[in-house]
Amino acid sequence: MEVIKKGTYVQIHQIVLRPEERASNLPDETKNVPLEMWVKGYLNSDAMIGDEVYITTLTNRQVKGTLVEVNPSYKHDFGNFVPEILKIGQDLRKILKDGEGCGRL
């Protein structure tokens, strides 16, 4: 496995609370899983994915966790096309133009 160099921008993962340490008033599906945290920062020393490491965050905090990603990127988008959305606009323009389909009795 590739060594990730000190100073690389990475994301780490940490278990904040194990299931038995969690607050008492939670629904079961939440209480049965740990509270997890992800933080990004610069790697303090050479390491490999899966190692326990320290990072220095943008606010200069030292945070410990498992190294999970290098140069973490954004993957959210506009999703799959939802054809219903297009129909809304067409219906409404028609109603404004000739009053048809507005649903008024």
Binding site: V33, L35, L58, T59, Y74, N80, E84, G103, R104
Partner: protein, 472 residues
């Protein structure tokens, strides 16, 4: 060495908060339950003019008030003759980070800088994080945003993932957590570790910042229309938007304007549930915040919340997720305004309420928010469909949060549902009695409860009698 266990950190909550907000809340306490709310707002906040100056300096506020002529025409097509108020929208997406939350962040961050804090921290998965990050960037302060972001499969709400990106683009550090109210524990630990300012949504600064919004609405209506708005519709979550806007309207002297709160109906979904987390399409502006924060405002991250919506609400309505997505598309297609869905909660309510009002009346929707990848009705409907939510056209009345999103078959099916405010007021009074563990209260407490619920002292006494609490 300090004890960082969950219980130990939670036990230090009050001292951490005192250090991180710089307010000694105990000095406003007037009785067992009561505190002097107006004095707190006066002594720790800023005057309206100071707030205006701070915001102008940071490029915040003075957003346009736009008439939605096509939507008004649509309302009139489905209204009885003579009905269908003119709808106006306050385009808050024009603020630096794209929402009205810049108004709140501007004051908190200014205050943090003035007091000499090196950075600010906020616990938020919503627009407020972006607002704090943006304002902190302007004032050269460090910024940490603590987000509830993923379920236990590490699947994140697209809207929250986008908010992470936006906070990071302003140079903030974002701490992402899985579902659970113990986010507060992580938040407290970061405040303690860094000594940064808690840019709480619920501090007097956070609320004073919204007052300019209500004030501008009144002034712009007078300038553009020669009169005050008849109603202002406000998306209601934690209560700050309602409280600040209503206070601003009052400060402008718009005393006859009806204050209407609106939330997306997420009845049946548990806010701390790992399973329900990704089965809801709205991460704020919904009943999961709106009802608990109205009936117990002091559940927030400061000892005494400055957001106290029951003092100001004249009416509180809910609407369905499918209706908001529909109106979001309508706003883009008929008015040329592509804005984020969550900000259109109040627009959707206004679309129905306008049908009950006369043609010469004015209804104002007091916010919009930015949109983009993740934070767009296409992204959110697509995500819902991937998570097994049934999306179809039909009667929104049949929508069940977490199971279906029903887009109205036609616009006349969009309806608001009234929440019984008196029931919420009773519930708030009962929560006060339960949380302060009292079985009798003094007259000062009763007076406070009357102010905090916009009820008469007689009405409060009647409710107290019903729950066997004596006023001595």
């Amino acid at each position: 060495m300090a004890d960082y266990s969950y219980n130990a950190v939670m036990a230090r909550k009050n001292e951490i908060m005192k250090m991180a907000v710089g307010i000694d809340y105990s000095k406003f306490q007037t009785s067992r339950i009561g505190f002097d709310y107006e004095r707190m707002m006066r002594e720790t906040g800023y005057t309206l003019q100071e707030v205006q100056n701070i915001q102008r300096d940071a490029g915040v506020g003075n957003t346009p008030l736009i008439e939605l002529k096509n939507l008004t025409a649509l309302v009139r097509k489905i209204s009885p003759k003579g009905k269908g108020a003119r709808i106006f929208i306050k385009d808050e997406a024009c603020n630096p980070s794209g929402s009205f939350k810049d108004r709140r962040a501007a004051i908190s961050v200014y205050h943090a800088k003035k007091l000499g804090y090196k950075g600010v921290v906020a616990a938020t998965s919503g627009n407020y994080g972006a607002a704090v990050a943006s304002q902190a960037a302007m004032r050269n302060l460090n910024c940490i945003i603590v987000q509830e972001c993923y379920d236990s499969r590490k699947v994140g709400q697209p809207e929250i993932l986008e908010k992470q990106r936006k906070c990071e683009c302003y140079g903030a550090e974002v701490v992402q957590l899985t579902v659970g109210p113990e986010l507060f524990y992580t938040f407290l630990r970061i405040l303690e570790e860094t000594g940064y300012f808690n840019a709480s949504l619920y501090s007097p600064y956070g609320i004073a910042g919204v007052e300019t919004l209500g004030y501008e609405v009144a002034i712009q209506c007078r300038e553009q229309l020669g009169k005050d708005p008849d109603a202002v519709v406000i998306t209601h979550a934690g209560g700050g938007n309602v409280t600040g806007t209503a206070r601003g309207l009052i400060k402008a002297g718009a005393l006859n304007t009806k204050v209407v709160g609106a939330s997306v109906d997420l009845t049946g979904l548990h806010m701390a549930s790992d399973r329900d987390f990704n089965r809801k399409s709205f991460t704020t502006g919904h009943t999961g915040f709106g009802i608990p924060f109205a009936t117990w405002p002091d559940r927030s991250d400061v000892p005494r919340s400055a957001a106290r919506p029951l003092r100001y609400l004249d009416r509180y309505v809910t609407i369905k997720q499918g209706e908001v997505f529909y109106m979001t598309e309508a706003l883009a297609q008929l008015e040329g305004l592509e804005r984020g869905p969550a900000g259109n909660t109040s627009l959707t309510a206004a679309f129905y309420i306008a049908q009950e009002m006369d043609e010469d009346q004015i209804i104002v929707v007091q916010e919009t928010e930015y949109t983009g990848a993740g934070k767009h009705h296409m992204a959110q409907l697509s995500f819902a469909r991937e998570n097994g939510i049934d999306i179809r056209f039909g009667d929104p009345e049949e929508e069940r949060a977490g199971e279906s999103i029903i887009l109205p078959e036609n616009p006349s099916l969009i309806k608001t549902r009234d929440v019984d405010l008196n029931k919420l007021k009773k519930s708030y009074i009962k929560n006060c009695i339960d949380n302060y563990k009292v079985d009798e209260i003094g007259i000062k407490d009763a007076e406070f409860l009357a102010e905090d619920t916009k009820l008469s002292i007689e009405e409060v006494k009647k409710i107290l009698t019903e729950i066997n609490v004596k006023v001595v």
